[in-house]
């Protein structure tokens, strides 16, 4: 591939208005593109439309948003870069990949931010707005020059694009249209179907006046026209033909739709990134489904309202992220104690405390399982794909009801904003909870009539004649009477705990990706599945004996892990949370703080589980996992573990 300009330096040639021969077409299995800009310039909308259209054309797609923490960070700042990465492929794409191959930047500072964190491949092609080079403000011209200097460290191909100048031929304020111009560029580069893009623009601006649609389409065509005259390369990524009906959306939306499909009717929440967009979507549609989204005064109230609703009927749910989870703690313990079913979604972000609000992390695992003072056994599960974000609440709702307990779903910022096509779900009546039975309670039935084997019991809800009782957060007996007798506390604790064992008894061991035994087993959970499996494909192609397994249930853990681990010489978790490196100062085998899943697995299986974890505020890159596998392969000397 070659752009018009082969020189890569601050004196890049202006490529505009040069008519040339048909472009060189590069056929590829997959490709990654990023669009970066100041916040509010619409790079994300552009990328979403591009991603959706690519999915509609049959490509595998994964998109990830690059979100600054502030709403309006200073313009042209490295820290304020906003944008989106889209990875498209011939086959299914399960993660955001490694480095980007093509970058489109609205200014050189956002480009610089991606350059500095190593997001751009060494041979990346870059399309950048060039108005800054000749800007009236000398300071800006200087910034441009020094940025170009810095960028020349790498072998990028930089192509200047007069975005604003071109846009001004169609609109007065190019800030409101550059993104559609860029969409046009990409449509040319990836040979996308313009009609489908127009359709998608119409959908994106559904509630806006028609002239907005028309303006955007004009800009799209302008960008496409400019590219076809000025760019001499195109990427063709053949698409897969499939008869299966597919849908495309992000994980938060998928969760919201899954929650609707489960028949739940009340969501209570307090706004918190990156969970809020679940509620935004629900607020739009839930009432039509007979549902209510209650924005409470804080997270404590939100879970209180959800528990109050669950207590009196169908299971309700609450939506939050780390800091909100912390506030809900006391109520979580109470829901476990009173055995009121509840579904909680935690879209994890970087922590501790306010941490990295818009970035991915998997650091809430142990707090989710063990974070409630007192012994509060409950279920924790983690979807690994956008599709599973849809299906998880359905399963969670059912388990919560049957086991009268809290079911937490741990998603994260990667799944929340990641967009991926998946087979269109086929909603079922059986997924949906009817209102619990309100038949009169038979004489003598007790509100906590624990089955001595499973710990299960049937709840009564208000409205059921003969079932009157007071649920209480205090220790209580089968009648829900406050217990003054110590033995009752032992018994009721046993019953609440037993439910987890009973649930685990119904589960199967997790499937192994790769050989059933070997040198190294990677264990992951949550959103890292795609990246781990892609890394595995690469190292297995190199001939390494590595397999992986991915856990969907963290509490109770899926059964059979000890036996599975015994078939590998070494077991290692890969997670997005913090762990000490073994050779860091002061770190010993005993004081090393490990990845959270590793911690849990060591405790439950007594296997010496190692870990490789990173908290870089971004999803794991398959390439980085490949490297980690290389450095963590067990040495041949050690014998097979028994």
């Amino acid at each position: 591939m070659a752009a018009l300009s082969s020189a890569v330096s601050p004196e890049v040639r202006d490529s505009s208005r040069v008519k040339h021969a048909p472009p060189t077409v590069h056929r590829l299995d997959e490709h990654t593109v990023e669009i970066v800009s100041d916040s509010g310039e619409g790079a994300q909308k552009c990328g979403q439309i591009f991603g959706t259209v690519s999915a509609k054309m049959g490509n595998g797609v994964w998109t990830v948003e690059i979100i600054p923490a502030e709403i309006e960070p200073p313009a042209r700042s490295v820290a304020g870069t906003s944008g989106i990465r889209i990875r498209i492929g011939s086959g299914p794409i399960t993660n955001w990949g490694d480095e980007t191959k093509l970058a489109v930047a609205f200014n050189e500072q956002s480009l610089l931010s991606r350059h500095r964190i190593g997001a751009l491949a060494d041979d990346a092609t870059i399309l950048v707005e060039n108005r800054w080079a000749t800007h009236d403000d000398e300071a800006i011209r200087d910034q441009w020059a020094s940025a170009m200097e810095e960028l020349s460290e790498r072998n990028y191909t930089i192509i200047e694009v007069p975005m604003e100048e071109e846009c001004l031929t169609v609109v007065e304020n190019p800030r409101l249209g550059k993104n559609m111009f860029v969409l046009g560029l990409l449509a040319f580069v990836y040979d996308r179907d313009l009609d489908r893009i127009r359709e998608q623009i119409a959908f994106a601006f559904l509630n806006k006046p028609k002239k907005i649609y028309e303006r955007n389409v004009a800009l799209l065509e302008l960008g496409h026209g400019w590219a076809s005259e000025n760019l001499d390369f195109q990427y063709h990524i053949p698409s897969i033909e499939t008869d299966q009906e597919m849908v495309v959306m992000n994980g938060n939306q998928a969760f919201a739709m899954g929650a609707i499909a489960s028949g739940m009717e009340l969501a209570a929440m307090y706004p918190i990134t990156p969970a809020t967009s679940v509620s935004h979507y629900l607020c739009d549609v839930f009432e039509r489904f007979g549902g209510i989204v209650h924005q409470a005064e804080d997270e404590i109230a939100a879970i209180g309202v959800a528990i109050g609703a669950s207590y009196s009927g169908k299971v309700a749910f609450t939506i939050t992220s780390g800091p909100g989870m912390a506030l809900k703690t006391e109520f979580l313990g109470m829901a476990v104690m009173t055995e009121i079913p509840l579904v909680l979604l935690n879209v994890q972000r970087g922590g501790p405390s306010t941490g990295l609000p818009t970035k991915v992390e998997q650091s809430d695992l142990l707090a989710s399982i063990f974070g409630q003072p007192g012994d509060a056994p409950h279920v924790v599960m983690a979807p690994a794909t956008i599709e599973e974000c849809f299906h998880a609440p359905i399963t969670a709702r059912r388990i919560a009801e049957t086991f009268r307990t809290v079911v937490m779903i741990l998603s994260d910022a990667n799944l929340a904003t990641g967009v991926q096509p998946f087979p269109k779900p086929d909603p079922q009546v059986s997924w949906q909870a009817p209102m619990p039975d309100q038949a009169p309670v038979p004489e003598g039935a007790r509100p906590y009539d624990w089955d001595p084997e499973t710990g299960l019991s049937r709840r009564f809800i208000p409205g059921q004649p003969g079932g009157m009782h007071t649920v209480t957060s205090l220790a209580h007996d089968e009648d829900s009477h406050v217990a003054y007798d110590a033995e009752i506390n032992q018994r009721s604790s046993r019953m609440r705990s037993r439910k987890l064992a009973a649930l685990q008894h119904t589960m199967s061991p997790p499937p192994i990706y790769g050989e059933e035994s070997g040198d190294l087993l990677i264990v992951g959970w949550g959103s890292t599945k795609g990246a781990i499996q892609e890394a595995l494909d690469r190292v297995r192609a190199e001939g390494l004996s590595v397999s992986s397994t991915h856990l969907s249930f963290l509490s109770p853990l899926e059964p059979g892990l000890g036996e599975i681990f015994s078939r590998f010489r070494k077991v290692m978790t890969v997670e997005i949370n913090y762990s000490d490196e073994p050779d860091d100062p002061y770190i010993t085998e005993e004081n090393r703080r490990r990845g959270q899943l590793a911690w849990l697995l060591r405790a439950t299986t007594l296997v010496d589980v190692d870990c490789w974890t990173r908290v870089l505020g971004e999803p794991l890159r398959p390439g980085a996992i490949v490297e980690a596998i290389h450095t963590h392969m067990p040495t041949k000397k050690r014998g097979k573990r028994t």
Binding site: P383, A396, P434, A502, M507
Partner: protein
């Protein structure tokens, strides 16, 4: 022909009770379906059901056989009970399907208002009967007896207090000549809401005989006024009539005195009254003069006792109140104080 727009506004005015009734029916549909699902079919089908309830996330992870075994055995329904439950479910489903039509009645000249209204309520009332049948079977009752609760209509006279509170509202389009409220009083119970959308010349004070202490009664020519129905507690009836008729509202929540509850607009001249359908001029004139009497009584009691100046609420009633009490007595409105 009353305009569709007026009917629409009348439906809107009773949207609260309409939605409450439909919601209750829909919740019941789901419950009966799920009860039938859980209690019919062979024991071997249980795992399949558990699998489908658990959904796709559980696929390959949770064994439906074991999961189903956790939740215990069920005693399958006998065939007869199942049949009756399915019939009851059909009744409920049919009501869901009928949607807003459940709440609309259209009268022609010569039709009896009370008969048609009662028939419509009896049709919707089958929902209550069907629910009763389900409950009877679920608590081990006999299927045959249960079935009787919903075969045929279930008129309001048979409804329980709780059912009356959830009464389906009705919007009745009626020609003025059929606006004979004789017998309607006994249907005004619980939370019933009836809106009469009247077309053509009509008796000017048709609803006056329906005023009793706890009943909200409204006559108006302004469809916006119908919105007041949503604030009423207890039974309520309203008529949307030509502006040649009297306009008044009796709102039991207005306060303890007649002046606070009753507001009467211009009263048409009794001389303009003509014979309409079964309603003689004399009866229509009687209703008008009763309204006039109530109007003057209400104006007489609307004294400033409510602003608290007297300060002592336990004192003897003022002479005007005593006059009102007498008039109320005449109008069958004696115990206004007890309504709430």
């Amino acid at each position: 022909m009353p305009s569709d727009e007026m009917v629409r506004q009348a439906l809107e005015a009773v949207s609260g009770p309409r939605e409450a009734f439909m919601s209750a029916v829909k919740v019941a549909v789901d419950q009966v379906e799920s009860y039938l699902d859980a209690n019919t079919g062979p024991e071997e089908a249980k795992p399949e059901r558990a699998a489908s309830e658990l959904g796709r996330f559980a696929e390959g992870r949770i064994d439906p056989q074991r999961f189903a075994a956790l939740t215990g055995e069920h005693e399958p329904l006998d065939d007869r009970s199942q049949e009756v439950l399915e019939e009851a479910l059909e009744v409920l489903r049919a009501l869901v399907k009928k949607g807003d039509e459940n709440f609309l009645v259209h009268l022609e000249e010569g039709d009896s208002l009370v008969d048609r209204v009662e028939a419509a309520l009896a049709a919707s009332g089958r929902a209550f009967g069907a629910a009763e049948a389900v409950e009877r079977i679920r608590t081990g009752g006999d299927a045959q007896t249960a079935r009787q609760s919903f075969t045929g209509g279930n008129p309001p006279g048979r409804w329980s207090r709780a059912e009356r509170r959830l009464a389906p509202p009705l919007v009745v389009s009626v020609p003025g000549s059929a606006l004979d409220v004789e017998g309607m009083g006994r249907l005004l119970e619980g939370n019933i809401r009836i809106v009469l959308v009247v077309d053509g010349p009509a008796p000017p004070a048709a609803l006056v005989p329906l005023m009793t202490p706890g009943v909200f009664v409204l006559q108006t020519s302004d469809s916006k006024e119908l919105a007041r129905l949503s604030d009423a507690a207890g039974p309520a009836i309203a008529a949307l009539l030509p502006d040649t008729c009297a306009g008044f509202v009796h709102d039991p929540l207005g306060g303890p005195t007649l002046g606070q509850r009753l507001t009467v607009g211009e009263i048409p001249d009794a001389k303009t009254v003509r014979m309409l359908g079964t309603m003689t001029t004399w009866r229509q004139a009687e209703a008008l003069s009763q309204l006039a009497a109530l109007k003057s009584a209400s104006e007489a009691v609307a004294l400033p006792s409510a602003n608290g100046k007297s300060g002592e609420p336990m004192e003897e009633p003022a002479p005007a109140d005593r006059l009102a009490a007498w008039l109320l007595d005449q109008a069958n409105l004696t115990d206004v104080d007890t309504a709430s």
